[in-house]
């Protein structure tokens, strides 16, 4: 084993490369002042567009509101008309129901008026009276919040 000789590893010719230890800064597209200025400018532009949008939304809200206000009397009139019609229907139903009962007079308790001092006055019914002749389920539908009705 005499042919194997020792060889010391040495640096390459000219020595090793230098170690880059200096900071390499990123490439700058904008300066700081430009960034702040751009931010302010874009915000101002966006605010202006937002303002325009707000104006339009307000205008639409006013239009919607005035439409609702305009048709409110109509809706109320329809409701009142239906109310009075239903009162009449209730009266007819009562007459039909109590036709065979002795001494019963429609709108009274066995001939005794509800208000003695004003027998012919219009009496607003209570809720139960309004739904008196219907079944309980349709009354509950109106009276309570019913899930998945």
């Amino acid at each position: 084993m005499d042919s194997v000789t020792k060889r010391q590893e040495m640096p390459p010719d000219g020595g090793y490369k230098t170690i880059p230890f200096k900071r390499v800064p990123a490439r700058q597209f904008f300066s700081g002042y430009a960034l702040i200025g751009g931010y302010l400018g874009m915000t101002a532009g966006a605010a202006y567009i937002y303002y325009l949008n707000c104006l339009q939304v307000q205008k639409e809200e006013i239009e919607l509101r005035s439409g609702r206000i305009a048709i409110e009397p109509l809706l109320k009139a329809e409701r009142d008309r239906e109310y009075l019609k239903q009162l009449r229907r209730n009266r007819d139903e009562e007459a039909k129901l109590m036709a065979n009962v002795e001494g019963w007079k429609v709108g009274t308790l066995y001939g005794e008026p509800i208000f003695k001092t004003r027998p012919d006055a219009f009496i607003e019914p209570k809720f139960h009276e309004y739904y008196m002749h219907t079944d309980l389920w349709s009354q509950k539908l109106r009276q309570y919040f019913v899930w998945l009705s």
Binding site: E82, L97, L109, I114, R118, H133, S138, R142
Partner: protein
Amino acid sequence: MSLSPYFKSPFTDLTGSIVNHQFFGKCRKFEERAIDCMEAYGLERGRRECKTLIEDFTECSLAHKRLARFEIMVKERDRQINAGERKKEDGYAPPPVIDSF
């Protein structure tokens, strides 16, 4: 406090009618007329003279007669259905339009 004609003091005057129907009540006029009558006749005689007015006022506020009417009619309807005078299909009237009350 309802002690007032027999036992009268500033406190009974003060607490005489804290709750009444005079503010936005449907029975405002009834109450006013009954109280006016009671004031004119006094307690003992007023109970007799103002009987109908007081009855009307209590009917307006508590609706005894109307509830009695309601119960009588519901019972009559149930009786008719159970006795077979009324068919199951048209046992009840169709309900009113839901937002009409």
